[in-house]
C-alpha cells in the first residue's frame, strides 16, 4: 500500500495520540486516581499503527493487557477509552471492564485481554468467520514475547495453518514478560516457530513505522488473498514498567533513555518525512498541539464523569436469562 499525504498525517496523528494518552496516564496514575492495573504501550506505537493502517471495520484484532495502543489504532474512541480507564459509566464498556478489557466490537476490536495468550485462539475464530461468511476480512492477533510461550498461542499457529485462515500473528517482542527477559524465556526464534507450523515469517524493526507498515501490508494481503496465515516478529521496547508501579530494576542502566533518544518511533517518523519533504514540520507540530488538547480534554472529562449506577452491577451478564 502506497502512503499518501493523508495516510502519513493519519499515521503520525495516531502514534502521537497513543503516546500522549500513555504518557498522561503515567502521570495521572501516580496521583492515585486511576483504579486497577494499567500497562502502558508507550514506545511501541509504530507496531499497532503500522499494522492497523491496513485494516477496516470488517477486520478484527485481538489485543493484550497492554492494549491501549491497539485500541486507538483500530479506531476506538479516545474519550470513551479514557472514561473506561477511570471506571465511568460513559466508558466504552460502561466502566465494567477497565484498562485491561477495553473493547469495541463495532470497530473490529475484540478486546484487550487480562489473560496472556487469550487472543490468538479468538483470532482464529474471527478469521474463520471471515472465511466462512466470505466477508473479505482478516484477523490479527497482537501478542507479546511472553505470550508466544503460551500453549494457546502455539495451538493457534497450527490451527490457523491447517485451516488456511486469513490471520496474522503479530509478536510484539519488547524483550520482557514482566521482569523476565525474552532471551531467557523464549527458546528458538519467533520466525522459526512460525516456520515449524508452515507459516511464513518476517522480522521487523518495531521502532520503524515504515518497516512495520510494509511487512504488515504483505502479510495482510496474503491473508486476504486466501493464502493463509503468517507471522510478523516486531522487535521493539516499552518505555515504562510492566505495569504502572513497576520500578523496572531488572532493566539495564540507561536502557530506556537510550531507546527514547536514539530509536523513538515518533522522532524517526518525523525526521524521515520532513527530510524527504513529504510533510512539513509545522504540520506535525500542529498535530502535536491538537492531540495534546484532545488528551487533556478527555482526562478532564473523565475525572468529572459519573460512575456507573448501582443497577449496572447486575446488567449484561447474559443476553437473556
Amino acid at each position: 500500500m502506497q502512503l499518501n499525504r493523508e495516510d502519513l498525517l493519519r499515521a503520525y496523528r495516531t502514534m502521537r495520540i497513543i503516546r500522549d494518552f500513555e504518557e498522561r496516564l503515567h502521570v495521572e496514575f501516580a496521583t492515585g486516581e486511576i483504579p486497577g492495573f494499567v500497562h502502558l504501550y508507550a514506545g511501541e506505537e509504530a507496531s499497532a499503527v503500522g499494522v492497523c493502517m491496513h485494516l477496516g471495520d470488517k477486520d478484527h484484532i485481538a489485543s493484550t493487557h497492554r492494549g491501549h495502543g491497539h485500541c486507538i489504532a483500530k479506531g476506538c474512541d479516545v474519550s470513551g477509552m479514557m472514561n473506561e480507564i477511570y471506571g465511568r459509566k460513559a466508558g466504552l464498556c460502561g466502566g465494567k471492564g477497565g484498562s485491561m478489557h477495553i473493547a469495541d466490537i463495532s470497530k473490529g476490536m475484540l478486546g484487550a485481554n487480562g489473560i496472556v495468550g487469550g487472543g490468538p485462539p479468538l483470532i482464529c475464530g474471527a478469521a474463520l468467520t471471515a472465511k466462512v461468511l466470505k466477508t473479505g476480512g482478516v484477523a490479527i492477533a497482537f501478542l507479546g514475547d511472553g505470550a508466544s510461550n503460551q500453549g494457546t498461542t502455539l495451538e493457534s499457529y497450527n490451527l490457523a495453518s491447517i485451516w488456511k485462515l486469513p490471520a496474522v500473528f503479530v509478536v510484539e517482542d519488547n524483550g520482557y514478560a514482566e521482569s523476565t527477559a525474552a532471551s531467557y524465556a523464549v527458546a528458538g526464534t519467533q520466525s522459526d516457530r512460525a516456520k515449524g507450523f508452515g507459516m511464513p515469517a518476517q522480522v521487523v524493526d518495531g521502532f520503524d513505522f515504515f518497516a512495520v507498515h510494509e511487512a504488515a501490508g504483505a502479510a495482510i494481503e496474503r491473508a486476504r488473498a486466501g493464502e493463509g496465515p503468517s507471522l510478523i516478529h516486531v522487535q521493539l521496547s516499552r518505555y515504562y514498567g510492566h505495569f504502572e508501579g513497576d520500578g523496572m530494576t531488572y532493566r539495564g542502566a540507561g536502557e530506556v533513555d537510550r531507546l527514547r533518544n536514539d530509536r523513538d518511533c515518533l522522532k524517526r517518523f518525523r525526521s524521515k518525512v520532513t527530510e524527504a519533504a513529504l510533510l512539513d514540520a509545522s504540520e506535525l507540530d500542529s498535530i502535536d498541539h491538537a492531540v495534546a488538547e484532545q488528551i487533556d480534554t478527555s482526562v478532564r472529562n473523565a475525572k468529572s464523569a459519573p460512575p456507573p449506577t448501582e443497577a449496572d452491577l447486575l446488567t449484561d451478564v447474559y443476553v437473556a436469562y
Binding site: G95, T180, V186, T249, Y250, D312
Partner: protein
C-alpha cells in the same frame, strides 16, 4: 513472636521449609524475577513481592522463574512431585487456572486414586484470589469452590498472617496436592506471628468468636468481615460464633454442625460466586445433618451472580461487607418460625 504481614508470613514459611527440606523447590512467573535481564536479579519476587529474597538464599536451581507457560510448569510441578521433589508452584492469579486446569484436576489430583494408591504427589500450588483490587473480571475471582469440587485436591484458604504461615508449612509437608489460596487484599495486614516454624492441621476449623445466638461461617478474608460483624452485633446484644474452616477440603463438618446444634441459626459469608460455592455446600450439609436444630432459614451472604466489575463503586457493592452480614444475622434472629415451639 513478632508482628509480620501476611506476605512476610508466607515468605517465612517458604524459607523455613526450603531450609529444612532440599526437595522443596519454587517455580512460577517472576518468582525471582530479572532472569536473563541486565539489571537486578530477584527483581520482583513474585508479582506482589511475596517470594522476594528467596532466590538469594536458595539460588536459581531451587527458585525457578518460568516462561509464560502455565500448563507446562504446573504440570512439571505435578510430575516432579510424583518423582521425588516437593514443588511449590505459583500460579499468580487463580483466574489463570483456565490455561492449566487439566494438569491440576486430571493429572495431579487423580494420580493416587487412578494408580491404585501407589502415587504420592506432594505439591502446593499457591495463587491469589479475591476482589478489592480494582483488577476487574479476569483478576478478581475466588474460584476455590471449583478446586473443592475435585476429589484428590486439598484446598486451604488462610484468613490471616498467623494462619497463613502455619497452614502453608502444613501444605508443604502434606503428601497430597494442595491448592493454597491467598487473598491479595490481606498481604499488607500484620499480626503477631511466631518466628519458629509451626503447623496448623487441615480439616480443623478455628472458632474466632464464640457466642450462643448465631453461627457465622466465613471463608478466607470473609472471616474478618464476619468477626467485624460479630463484634458490632455483640455490642447490640446478639452473640455470634464465627467459624473459620481454614480448609474447604477437607472440611471440618463436625465443628460447624456442633455449633449449629447450639445456636440453631446459621449465616455463611462466602466471596465466591453464589451458585455452587462454599455457602451452598455448607447449607446443604447443615440442612441434611442438623435440620432439626435450625430455628430459622440459613442465610448466605455472597456476591451476586455476575462477573467482578471494574468500576470501584460497583466492586464495593459486589463484595460482601460487614453491614450485609449484620443484616443477615438480624434477619435470622427475627425469624418467627420455630422459636416458640423450641422454647
Amino acid at each position: 513472636m513478632s508482628k509480620k504481614s501476611f506476605r512476610q508470613a508466607i515468605n517465612e514459611a517458604l524459607r523455613q521449609e526450603m531450609r529444612r527440606d532440599p526437595r522443596v523447590v519454587l517455580m512460577g512467573e517472576d518468582v525471582a524475577g530479572g532472569a536473563g535481564a541486565a539489571g537486578e536479579d530477584d527483581a520482583w519476587g513474585g508479582v506482589l513481592g511475596v517470594t522476594k529474597g528467596l532466590v538469594g538464599e536458595f539460588g536459581r536451581e531451587r527458585v525457578l522463574d518460568t516462561p509464560l507457560s502455565e500448563s507446562a510448569y504446573i504440570g512439571a510441578a505435578a510430575g516432579a512431585a510424583a518423582t521425588g521433589l516437593r514443588p511449590v508452584a505459583e500460579l499468580m492469579f487463580v483466574d489463570f487456572m483456565g490455561v492449566c486446569f487439566d494438569q491440576i484436576f486430571n493429572q495431579a489430583a487423580k494420580f493416587r486414586y487412578m494408580f491404585g494408591g501407589h502415587a504420592v504427589t506432594p505439591m502446593v500450588i499457591r495463587m491469589m484470589y479475591g476482589a478489592g483490587f480494582r483488577a476487574a473480571s479476569q483478576h478478581s475471582q475466588c474460584l476455590y469452590p471449583i478446586f473443592t469440587h475435585i476429589p484428590g485436591l486439598k484446598v486451604v484458604i488462610p484468613s490471616s498472617a498467623y494462619e497463613a504461615k502455619g497452614l502453608l508449612i502444613q501444605a508443604i509437608r502434606d503428601d497430597d496436592p494442595v491448592i493454597f489460596m491467598e487473598n491479595k487484599v490481606l498481604y499488607d495486614q500484620e499480626e503477631e506471628v511466631p518466628d519458629e516454624s509451626y503447623t496448623i492441621p487441615f480439616g480443623e476449623a478455628n472458632l474466632t468468636r464464640e457466642g450462643s445466638d448465631v453461627t457465622i461461617v466465613g471463608i478466607g478474608r470473609m472471616v474478618q468481615i464476619a468477626n467485624a460483624a460479630a463484634d458490632t452485633l455483640a455490642r447490640q446484644g446478639i452473640s455470634c460464633t464465627v467459624i473459620d474452616p481454614r480448609t474447604t477440603s477437607p472440611l471440618d463438618t463436625g465443628s460447624i454442625l456442633d455449633s449449629v446444634e447450639e445456636t440453631g441459626r446459621l449465616v455463611i459469608v462466602d466471596e465466591a460466586s453464589p451458585r455452587c460455592n462454599m455457602a451452598t455446600d455448607i447449607s446443604a450439609l447443615v440442612a441434611q445433618e442438623a435440620f432439626g436444630a435450625l430455628r430459622a432459614p440459613i442465610r448466605m451472604v455472597c456476591p451476586p451472580h455476575v462477573p467482578v466489575p471494574f468500576a470501584p463503586n460497583l466492586e464495593d457493592l459486589y463484595v460482601p461487607d460487614a453491614a450485609r452480614v449484620e443484616a443477615a444475622v438480624r434477619a435470622v434472629m427475627q425469624h418467627a418460625g420455630k422459636q416458640g415451639a423450641r422454647a
